[in-house]
């Protein structure tokens, strides 16, 4: 954990090797990126169709909803691209193939995350970024310096919070090897949630998403500040600026969970 530079380097080495091997088949790679782009864009098509029937959802306009959709998708896109492979940890624990990672001179998490690095996952990030860009041209906001700075900060913090959820979920798979489904509920489920305005959900649910799994810090709280919207639950406005802290805290907790998981790894017989 201490050697960040070394970890990034090893991640780059492994990812580069996988990229090279996928680029051998250029057309199939292009098709995979496009498919990923289109499949993830379906989520937005659904929102589009809703707005063809109504002018607002939960009090939010199409452009505002697109802003929420875009910020959540970009954050999640970054995480899915960089950490998407940790989902498979349960498989590796079950068949013992994690052993190979444990005898190499690099952190296991880095190796698991970079394994089968899929550049095709760029598709989700790209379509999220397009929607976000489009929403920014349509929104009529009073931009302040704080709002301008908050935008990149929330995208990166959001990616880190999603990352913590990914890693914590993967760590849980050390004990429950078939928990990948439960993990998806938090990652993909969380993403779908954050793509909609918080006002469409029940109050208790929003509280849960804020304080139990801190997903609301990914985009809701900072985005509502940017949009100049009131919080759905009576929360103080300055929470909009806390995502970096929440991200750091979640990552630290996820890191501890991961460590505990590795230490309790039992490998398989033979």
């Amino acid at each position: 954990m201490a050697d960040v530079g070394g970890s990034v380097r090893v991640y780059g080495l492994i990812a580069a090797m996988w990229i090279r091997s996928t680029l051998v088949y250029r057309t199939s790679f292009a098709a995979a990126v496009l498919t990923n782009f289109l499949v993830t864009a379906l989520d937005f098509v659904v929102i589009w169709m809703m707005f063809s029937q109504a002018t607002s959802i939960g009090g939010y306009s199409f452009a505002e909803t697109a802003f929420l959709y875009g910020t959540a998708s970009v954050s999640f896109g970054i995480t899915a691209l960089l950490l998407g492979s940790v989902d498979d940890l349960g498989l590796r624990v079950r068949d013992g193939s994690l052993d190979a990672f444990l005898v190499r001179p690099a952190p296991v998490l880095v190796q698991v995350a970079a394994d089968r690095f899929g550049l095709r996952r760029l598709g989700r990030f790209l379509q999220g970024a397009l929607v976000l860009g489009w929403s920014l041209t349509r929104l009529d906001l009073d931009w302040t310096l704080a709002k301008l700075l908050l935008l990149p900060v929330m995208l990166l913090s959001g990616a880190a919070i999603f990352g913590a959820v990914y890693v914590a979920g993967a760590a849980f798979q050390f004990w429950a090897q078939d928990a990948a489904e439960a993990q998806s509920a938090f990652t993909f489920g969380g993403l779908t949630l954050l793509q909609y305005p918080p006002t469409v959900f029940a109050r208790d649910f929003v509280i849960g998403v804020t304080f139990v799994v801190p997903l609301a810090f990914v985009n809701w709280l900072p985005a509502l500040y940017v949009l100049g919207r009131p919080y759905p639950v009576g929360l103080p406005w300055w929470l909009a600026f806390t995502p970096p802290l929440v991200a750091a805290g979640s990552c630290a907790l996820a890191g501890l969970a991961w460590r505990a998981g590795v230490r309790s790894y039992r490998s398989t017989g033979s």
């Binding site: 080495l13 090797m17 952190p107 017989g269 033979s270």
Partner: protein, 329 residues
């Protein structure tokens, strides 16, 4: 034993096993995979680590590499506690698991090597020298561009051994390196390991089912069963302790009554074929000479005792005999 390269002192590994005993009820019990294990291996030694399935061999290797954390006891490799400083230790050790590969399954063999080169930060000249040597001795030349999943078991094993040696490890752990290999591959692998140990002074710890591996490679052998060290000493001593016997199978030109020869007894007769058991520590040559001189001998073969029967005999003697002869060090 203070300056042993590998130090294992009173090491235990206990697994919690949960078993479903009813619809909702689960029973928890503990399995002691390794129990108060103590041994030391000096630098440059080649040690065979044998025992039946489930005896604790792999668990020991996994603790030595840092994959598993011991439940109790002290363990050091090159002065490093493996489970605490796994990544630091990784640069100094090489590991080959017979049952599974450490190579990147979907990529050509050479890609795995290139990645190891950079991941272990091996100096370019050193990498090229080690790779060339492995490619030549393990005959990997034509396989380098083949995806690992397309390699046969023997080819993959050779590929794995090369991968484990590119960074000049001080110790090499081999977990069943010859399991499932054909005779030619076995011979190649053994020859390579012998040379590695003799020329580079690499410490080698190898687990195996195959006593021939041990006979051809190791002076010292450790036997583990039910997680306990049953024997630690010379291979010859193991045969004495285990009172193991080799079998001489002779085909005579015609049916004869059981042969009467010194130091051997006939255990089975089937037509012109007879099975003679003799102490494993003894040479077969004088026995063969005597039979050839006195009887009409058509053909013969020698069968080695297998580990299971040696251990079974040790059990029959009840007491676990630690250090039947003293360990060479």
């Amino acid at each position: 034993m203070a300056e042993d390269f590998i130090e294992v002192d009173g090491v235990e590994k206990v697994f919690d096993v949960r078993r479903k005993t009813g619809l909702l009820r689960r029973e928890r019990h503990q399995v002691r995979a390794v129990d108060s294990l103590t041994f030391g291996v000096p630098r440059g030694e080649m040690v065979g680590y044998i025992g039946p399935n489930g005896a604790g061999k792999s668990t020991t290797i996994k603790m030595l590499t840092g994959i598993l954390t011991p439940s109790a006891g002290r363990l050091r490799v090159a002065g490093i506690e493996p489970s605490r400083e796994r990544t630091r230790l990784a640069r100094r050790i090489g590991v080959v698991f017979g049952q599974r590969t450490t190579l990147w399954w979907d990529l050509p063999l050479i890609d795995s090597y290139r990645l190891m080169h950079r991941m272990y930060r091996i100096p370019d000249a050193r990498y090229r020298e080690n790779l060339d040597r492995c490619v030549e001795l393990l005959e990997l030349g034509r396989l380098l561009d083949t995806p690992v999943r397309q390699l046969s078991l023997g080819q993959r094993m050779r590929g794995d051994i090369a991968a484990a040696l590119l960074h000049d490890p001080e110790v090499l752990y081999l977990d069943e390196p010859t399991i499932g290999l054909d005779v030619v591959s076995k011979v190649k692998v053994r020859g390579f390991l012998r040379e590695l140990n003799e020329e580079r002074g690499t410490t080698v710890l190898l687990t195996t089912h195959d006593l021939t591996d041990i006979e051809q490679l190791c002076k010292r052998v450790m036997v583990i069963d039910h997680g306990r060290l049953m024997y630690d000493g010379q291979l010859d001593g193991l045969h004495q302790v285990g009172e193991s016997e080799r079998t001489l199978v002779v085909d005579l030109e015609r049916e004869l009554p059981p042969l009467d020869v010194q130091f051997a007894r006939v255990v089975k007769v089937d037509g012109p074929r007879q099975w003679l058991a003799f102490p494993a520590a003894q040479s077969a040559a004088p026995l063969v000479a005597q039979i050839a001189a006195e009887y009409p001998l058509a053909d013969l073969s020698v069968r080695e005792p297998d580990i299971e029967s040696v251990i079974a005999r040790m059990y029959a003697r009840e007491e676990p005999s630690l250090g039947g002869t003293t360990a060479p060090s």
